[in-house]
């Protein structure tokens, strides 16, 4: 670094990820890169990184075999899914009530069982 107004390697390296996708660096960064022996290599690392990341889009991963079938059926089943959702939403209170009654019944049965065991023991 010959002049104090010029950017340091640390300052430049902090900014390099922003130029990884090929965007033109600012004039001050370019000036530094043209004179620094190490920072252009660092810039090249970021560019290689993003260039390779971009290729991952076409690197497909094997989806489950049944996925294609279920996705293809969406037009014929979307309506049915909506009907089920609307039904569940409308009857949410009734379902919650039913669940509460079932829970209360189970608790009552458990209590009754405990009481019966105590009586038998006595």
């Amino acid at each position: 670094m010959s002049e104090s107004t010029e950017m340091t390697c640390a300052e430049v390296r902090e900014m390099l990820p922003a130029y990884a996708n090929g965007d033109q660096p600012s004039l001050a960064v370019r000036r530094h890169l043209s004179r620094c022996p190490g920072c252009p290599e660092e810039m090249a690392r970021y560019r290689a990184l993003v260039t390779t990341i971009r290729t991952l889009e076409s690197r497909t991963m094997d989806p489950p075999a049944e996925l294609l079938v279920s996705l293809s059926r969406i037009p014929s089943e979307a309506g049915r899914i909506d009907v089920i959702r609307v039904h569940v939403a409308r009857n949410r209170r009734a379902y919650a009530g039913g669940a509460a009654v079932a829970l209360a019944g189970a608790a009552g049965a458990a209590l009754w069982q405990v009481r019966r065991q105590r009586l038998a023991a006595a």
Partner: protein, 182 residues
């Protein structure tokens, strides 16, 4: 992806829909898997994404590429799933230190940095990134969403989205070129 195919789907053509799905579902599943890291969750998010896409197709005006539009829908589904999962499993969040501890091993860095990087190693490095960086980098650098689109899908400011992409790239660089840190 031809616009004609999309237009046929808008009219309810189920055969066209089948073709559209066949042409795109691997990439959409890949996007969901890269965000969620779990194959079952990714398959569910993919189904949700296509259901949303089927319903919202009428709103696609062709201003952007169809694949970009579909990626946004998929990102929305995957991020929603991520939030739901996070509520169930609060401990999922990783610290930066943990992330770095899980480094996949460095790429060959003694040669030129321009040497092509190992894609599997890069996938592994992406998977090991903390969630908020991983989602931002995957959407920006793998699927080409804009900072504005990422901010909308992640429900954060554009500045925050930009910072996440920036820091995510930095962490990836550290993971991939481990022995070149000065």
């Amino acid at each position: 992806m031809s616009l004609e195919l999309v237009e046929s789907c808008k009219k309810g053509d189920e055969a066209a829909w089948g073709q559209l799905v066949e042409a795109t579902y691997r990439e959409v599943y890949g996007l969901c898997l890269r965000i969620l890291r779990d194959p079952d969750d990714a398959a569910e998010a993919t189904q949700d994404a296509y259901l949303k896409a089927w319903r919202a197709l009428g709103g696609f005006r062709g201003d952007s590429m169809f694949s970009t539009w579909l990626y946004r829908v998929a990102a929305n589904s995957a991020i929603s799933k991520l939030r739901g999962r996070k509520r169930r499993r609060e401990h999922e969040a990783q610290t930066d230190e943990e992330t770095l501890a899980q480094a996949p091993g460095s790429a060959s860095t003694h040669g030129s940095a321009l040497a092509s990087l190992d894609r599997e190693q890069l996938e592994q490095a992406l998977r090991s990134l903390a969630e908020h960086y991983r989602v931002a980098v995957v959407l920006r650098d793998v699927y080409g969403l804009s900072i504005e689109e990422i901010a909308k899908e992640m429900k954060i400011s554009e500045t925050a989205a930009k910072v996440r992409v920036h820091r995510g790239r930095k962490k990836l660089r550290d993971l991939m070129f481990e022995d070149s840190n000065e």
